[in-house]
Point group: C2
Chain length 283, copies 2
DNA sequence: CCGGGCAGGTTGTCTAGCCATCTTTGGTGA
DNA sequence: TCACCAAAGATGGCTAGACAACCTGCCCGG
């Protein structure tokens, strides 16, 4: 009864169906603002139970594709975009997904004992071996980002074995069995210093978009800590969040001189009021 | 058998249990890096079925509190932070949650026909009435942000009725029955212009952190479009994402002169490889 | 013509259970 | 001592059904 039978090595049904529905929305059926078929409808159509369909719709909802209100049919919000967790981690994966040619110029790769800051960020003892790699990343030849990544020893050992100009460290690490599960990003703006200006070909004091990232493996071990500085005129971040899932945080720097501030976090919402009526279902 | 019986108006069981487990983690039991009790354990302990516990753990997982791998017990990743969807939307809610005193200085509030850009952002016809409000937001008296928000007529009418120095427009709107469901944020860095410099008391060309946001009601109608510019030395964004839920996007500006670029989106991940062994369960 | 109320449809919550797949552990045999 | 294997334990995926809460549209009465 499955619309498209699945082989043994394929996605679980609920993901498969989610992909199919997302593809449909991308193709315009149903159009944004329109209603989705009911859960029972979809369950029958795909030959699965309502529980499985609810898993599917939960996925689409977290992704911001659809909205739901108890009692009313689900609404299509917008067409889906590109998708991949890897794109958040990997400059190369992102660039390729956009059809641009990523590149990397190795500036430095050093192996040294961890200082107290690095030790805390990577959750290793002070003095443990860490690897610090600095690279300039390019898009179609033009430098757009400076990447300073710190790895713990068990990862850095692998990284050091790669070619310096290896396109995607992330991809190579995954192939080597190092996996990524959780990442925490801190995004702010800084003025370009003299050294960074030279690497990026900019004037000093130009605004840069800085992303600091800590990535963790499924077992909780930190895999990398990175400080990436983007040309502000070539890149921006977007964050999508819903009342059901908010993963963004805005954090103030303590007293305008500080270093590691307290945090403003955006997680889930408990309360949600509903609109009076969905008249004018937009467009 | 419920550890804490629920009354008729309380949260659903799975949210209630999630809150209790999160509180426990905040208090240090289990500590980060340690294991959570098994699903069956928790089900028995809270007197619910395993399905309900799985709903609970799904919540905590999306929030980045715990990680899971098939076959292994769930791991506690970190202590939970403050939580509220409102804090992503509302400067005031965020400031108060942090114990600081938010303020607002009304610069301008105009009512005018929508231009083509505004019309698209708010999903109204060109020429429809929109309200544009400019305010300087302060933290304990010091200006930290310039807020330029555009509202469609049905929301702007309410906003115009508020006092200009109303602390939290968002909160007042919710009280008036306008609810928020989805928000899309675009974050980048720009150099401070002359006008903005005067409003914020900065030198021109200082880096600013810019957040552009479109907020949508549960029925899909846009509620507001905002351009907020923060002092880069007083605020930063953090984004949390997991392999199961990634809501961040990095989007390149097309040719270094552009206005509305294509999008690099970070949504869900389909594939996930697993680590070899979780030895050294960190700390 | 307008408004209220009711019935049916739809999503939200929860249960009980089944099997698959993977991890961990402990024991056995070389 | 060490490698391998089997069993137990855990999570992932899925089903079928029940009831609650809520929304919508229709019908009917005023």
């Amino acid at each position: 009864m499955l619309a498209t039978p699945r082989g043994p090595h394929e996605l679980p049904a609920y993901r498969h169906i989610a992909a199919e529905i997302a593809a449909g929305i991308r193709a315009g059926t149903p159009a944004p603002g329109k209603q989705l078929p009911s859960e029972s409808d979809l369950a029958t159509r795909y030959g699965v139970s309502r529980g499985t369909i609810r898993q599917t719709l939960g996925l689409l909802q977290v992704d911001g594709l659809i909205a739901s209100r108890q009692g009313a049919r689900r609404l299509v919000l917008s067409a889906p975009r590109l998708q991949s967790f890897a794109e958040l981690m990997s400059f190369s994966a992102w660039a390729r997904a956009r059809g641009e040619q990523p590149g990397a110029l190795l500036v430095e790769l050093v192996r040294r004992p961890a200082g107290p800051l690095e030790a805390e960020r990577l959750d290793v003892p002070v003095g443990a071996v860490v690897y610090v790699m600095t690279r300039v990343r390019t898009l179609s030849g033009a430098p757009v980002m400076i990447e300073r990544t710190t790895y713990p020893e068990w990862v850095g050992r692998l990284v050091a074995a790669f070619d310096g100009e290896t396109e995607s460290i992330t991809q190579r690490l995954e192939e080597a069995g190092v996996s990524f599960a959780v990442a925490e990003h801190t995004i702010d703006a800084i003025a370009c210093g003299v050294a960074d200006a030279r690497l990026l070909g900019l004037q000093p004091r130009t605004p840069l978009l800085r992303e600091r990232r800590r990535t963790t493996a499924p077992d909780g071990r930190p895999v990398e800590w990175s400080d990436d500085r983007y040309r502000a005129d070539s890149v921006a971040f977007t964050v999508h969040n819903t009342v059901a899932t908010a993963n963004l945080t805005l954090l103030p720097l303590p007293a305008r001189n500080g270093d590691e501030p307290a945090v403003r976090t955006m997680r889930r919402q408990t309360g949600l009021t509903h609109p009076r009526r969905p008249d004018e279902p937009h467009s």
